[in-house]
């Protein structure tokens, strides 16, 4: 079963807020910067797709979505 992991590189965040608009179940804004919402199940298909879309759009390339197929 694959496990999805999402990494947010805060040093690359440009604070545009795009991720919070395309992946509102995954990201929120705190202190002007994006934050991962706690207790999110990244293996949920909808959540995973939102995270991937946010990663593809992030102008700072601050979001990584990793799939562990083990």
């Amino acid at each position: 079963m694959s496990k999805t992991k999402v990494i947010l590189h805060k040093d690359r965040c440009t604070e545009c807020g795009t991720c919070t608009q395309v992946a509102s179940k995954v990201f929120t804004i705190e202190g002007g910067k994006s934050q991962l919402i706690k207790s999110v199940d990244f293996n949920d298909p909808e959540i995973r797709e939102q995270a991937k879309q946010a990663a593809s759009l992030c102008p700072g390339q601050a979001i990584e979505v990793l799939e562990d197929e083990s």
């Binding site: 604070e15 545009c16 795009t18 608009q21 593809s56 759009l57 102008p59 390339q61």
Partner: protein
Amino acid sequence: MKVEARVVSNRLLNPYTHHLILHPLEPKEIDFKAGQFLLFQVTPGITRAYSLANPEHFRDRLEFIVDVRPGGPGSRFIQQAKKDDKVTLHGPFGHFILRPRKAPKFFVATGCAIAPIKSMVETLLDHQEPDSISLCWGLRYLKDVYLADYFAKLQSRYANFSATLCISRPEGSNPYFTGRVTEAVGSVVGVKKNADYYLCGRETMVEEMKITLRRVGVADERVFSEGSRRKTC
């Protein structure tokens, strides 16, 4: 939302500032709020955010003002864009938008961050906003100046609109305000406690303005901002 557009024109406002106009092909009109931005797909894996500079009522025209000095992939994309090129964009995005509140509006911008501010000002004027609209816009050198005549014409046409162009390091005789926007707001234009403030541009300017406004009694909920770091101009 994915947007496919065509380049209508790409001209220089000064040696490093591009005025790019696109025509949306699909969808044919873009519904956006003044102050928002679109993400340009500059390469398959890279996007860059640029604010819309046109007002909300121009839904079939996408206008951008971009400083290409950073020299990164976004800058190169903008420099190379030519008439009839196809461009893929995403959006609109962004929370730096006008608040629907009856109050004087004060806009402070530096450099190409004039783009979202231009969109906001033109949108308000089109809506026949009755309250006063003030703009302080800072550029560094006289040779950088663009859109000065445009804002002067708006000022002569709309009695409730005033624009102050600030040159921080003028080379020679300066017909505009000499100094930074933060100085102009305090000394020339004056701070109105009952106004809504929209700040966009250099992070240092935004932070300095927030401190100044708080010190003179402007409530934090009346101050809205977006720093240049948000967008890789």
